[in-house]
Symmetry: C2
Subunit: 97 residues, 2 copies
Amino acid sequence: MAEKDKDNIIFIGNKPFMNYVTGVVMQFTTKNAKEVIVKARGKFISRAVDVAEISNKRFLEGQVEVKDIAIDSEEFKNKEGKQVRVSTIEITLTKKK
Amino acid sequence: MAEKDKDNIIFIGNKPFMNYVTGVVMQFTTKNAKEVIVKARGKFISRAVDVAEISNKRFLEGQVEVKDIAIDSEEFKNKEGKQVRVSTIEITLTKKK
């Protein structure tokens, strides 16, 4: 993905929920993005699905659809040097033609 | 889906995590299922992704893959009669050919 497209990636964390929904909606409306990717790790995965669903069904109804959903795992060492695994999700939303 | 195939659906809740992983693995191994569907709602969605990832990557490595992931919303009235929305996920795992 080209550098200039990075705005299209919304990474879900613990900011207020509507910040993320607004982020997705703005990308499609004012920024005219063709595609937005909602990403999350661990416990934020449920939230990413909520953000995608509410953006699609409440704010962009009929305009946007889920193009692809990918799940994966990342392994890393935590502060105590222990190897830990965390699940990830990437939900790709795309403008309907 | 036929009645006899319902064993293939693993619905994720708050039982001990490994119960669900064992459920998925058993379906593919002792029950010889071709496909297993991991379903969850709301906050259990993150857990469903963990169950799918750990089953696939730790216990059934190279034997099973993610065939499809679908997200959706369900609306219902809660105890107070208020209309609420909850996100859902269905992760379909399938035996590699």
